[in-house]
């Protein structure tokens, strides 16, 4: 433990002249939220740090203060009660992947967790960090080459420029344009929570509030979280009847983010074969989670079989008009991944019940 008893927050004070940021590790929640409030706009939360430190290296974020959650306790619990599954925001991705409770109730979450980065990342990265991660775009914060390239061109919209400079037809950008930034939504756990219609508990000095995840991801590359707020836990409600879920993702490298990822869940009627409600959330194609309503409506009210799943997947993103080579590829990828995710969901449904 740190022996620096002189500082107020039992924190590791250091001169800022040679350090890029000042690091705080508060030991109580009150100190933590106070620090965030006091340093509004200048402080960033470091939970796992696997996204934040990369963002700092890439110069996409330059916080003055980094507030670590490493000494906070009690936010890494996975609890199942009669009507809901609660996952603390500081639960590591690895713990979610390995949790038997999650695997048995909402396999989409553990499958999504399994697809995130490599084990070295998953051992450290947290649920909260994954759902609140910075957007990923070569023109903004990705790759070494990109960093040099970025220095030689005008800044992108997110970096303080006036326009989005991302190419129109690209594997790593959106297919469905919503707004002015082409960076895609890439949080896998966010996607899984989105298809499960979960809600987040958000905490700050002002108190707690509960936000449904669909409102949390309200706009293009933006989420409903102020600089001094902290996601405390995610809650997935259990509605009694048989539900099943699955996840499928395509990425190009082990630590790469999703080119396309699909989370699907099906809620069955009491006969265990008719679909009451289907939910398909697609990542990598739009700036926020894309809800494939076109496919969901084809599934609802019908008996689920292989043919119906294939038919529903073919309907996905049918309305997208302008397509280049990369965009067409992403659309067919979304369709085949949706098919795989739905099929996994059906199989898990049999296993679970």
């Amino acid at each position: 433990m740190s022996s620096d008893g002189s500082s107020e927050y039992k924190v590791e004070q250091a001169s800022t002249s040679d350090s890029r940021f000042q690091y705080f590790a508060p030991t109580s929640l009150t100190e933590f939220t106070e620090l965030l409030e006091k340093n509004y706009d200048h402080a960033k939360i470091c939970a796992g740090g696997t996204d934040l430190l990369v963002q700092i290296t890439q110069c996409a974020l330059q916080p003055k203060y980094v507030v670590s959650t490493s000494h906070l306790e009690g936010f890494d619990k996975i609890e199942l009660n009669e009507d809901a599954l609660n996952i603390g925001s500081l639960t590591t991705v690895r713990a979610i992947e390995k949790s038997r409770i999650i695997n048995q109730t909402f396999p989409v979450l553990s499958e999504a967790a399994h697809e995130i980065g490599a084990i070295q990342i998953r051992n450290v990265a947290t649920l909260g960090g994954n759902i609140c991660q910075n957007l990923k775009c070569a023109e903004y914060n990705q790759s070494h080459i990109g960093q040099f390239m970025r220095e030689s061109i005008k800044p992108c919209l997110k970096a303080g420029g006036t326009a989005c400079i991302a190419p129109f037809d690209s594997l790593r950008h959106v297919v469905v344009e919503k707004g002015i930034c082409r960076a895609p939504f890439v949080s896998d756990l966010g996607l899984a929570l989105h298809c499960l219609d979960s809600s987040l508990t958000i905490l700050s000095r002002r108190g707690e509030r509960i936000v449904p995840i669909r409102q949390f991801y309200f706009g293009p590359s933006e989420f409903d979280l102020k600089e001094d707020e902290f996601v405390k836990q995610a809650t997935v409600s259990i509605n009694g009847s048989r539900s099943s879920s699955g996840f499928a993702k395509y990425k190009q490298t082990a630590n790469g983010y999703a080119i396309v990822a699909v989370a699907a869940s099906i809620l069955f009627e009491t006969d265990n074969s008719t679909c009451r409600k289907a939910s398909i959330s697609i990542g990598g194609v739009a700036p926020s989670p894309y809800e494939a309503v076109e496919a969901e409506s084809l599934l609802e009210g019908k008996k689920i079989d292989g043919e119906l799943i294939a038919q529903a997947s073919r309907a996905i993103l049918e309305s997208v008009k302008h397509r280049g080579v990369a965009r067409s590829f992403k659309i067919s990828l979304a369709r085949s991944l949706a098919k795989a995710a739905l099929e996994k969901a059906v199989v898990h449904g049999v296993d679970v019940n």
Binding site: G49, L53, I119
Partner: protein
């Protein structure tokens, strides 16, 4: 001003005064001189050359603030030797020539160590999964997988199960 932390590295205790933005990678390489911890992509989280074990779990030391490691137990490639001899994983890497330039090897071996500690019966699929975060630019993956399969057999025997 800097802050003080205590670490246990490869079984020995250390006290450091560290800069706020110092990573565990920097600390291990420049202060302790453990150059088996490689610096390659440097805080991008791509290559796995900087893999070390913190509390028995493999992590990227380039994405781990040194201050966060306060009180932790760290194992690097230098700490794997058993009674002055090579660890069974190191031995099988050597025997099968699962090394080309050798730069990725410490990370590969530490990832394997973490895997076999957790699951001594690891399948080829488990190995692929556990090593997916370690890149080999010489692309010599086949030999590495073979070496791990071989190490697994030695490792399963309780006598040699030491970290």
């Amino acid at each position: 001003m800097t802050s003080n932390i205590n670490l246990k590295i490869n079984g020995a205790r250390y006290a450091f005064s560290v800069r706020d933005d110092e990573t565990l990678l920097e600390l291990l390489r420049t202060r302790v001189g453990l150059t088996g911890v490689k610096k390659a992509c440097d805080a991008i989280g791509e290559c796995g050359a900087c893999t070390v074990l913190v509390g028995g779990r493999a992590i990227y030391s380039c994405l781990y603030p040194a201050l966060r490691a306060d009180g932790a137990e760290i194992v690097t490639i230098e700490g794997l030797a058993v009674d002055g001899g090579l660890n069974p994983i190191q031995e099988s890497f050597l025997k099968l020539g699962a090394i080309q330039c050798g730069f990725c090897t410490p990370g590969m071996i530490l990832s394997t160590q973490a895997l076999l500690e957790e699951n001594p019966e690891a399948s080829v699929q488990d190995i692929h999964d556990a090593l997916s975060g370690n890149l080999c630019r010489c692309t010599g993956y086949e030999k590495i997988i073979e070496a791990i399969m071989m190490a697994k057999q030695t490792y399963a025997k309780p006598v040699s199960r030491r970290g």
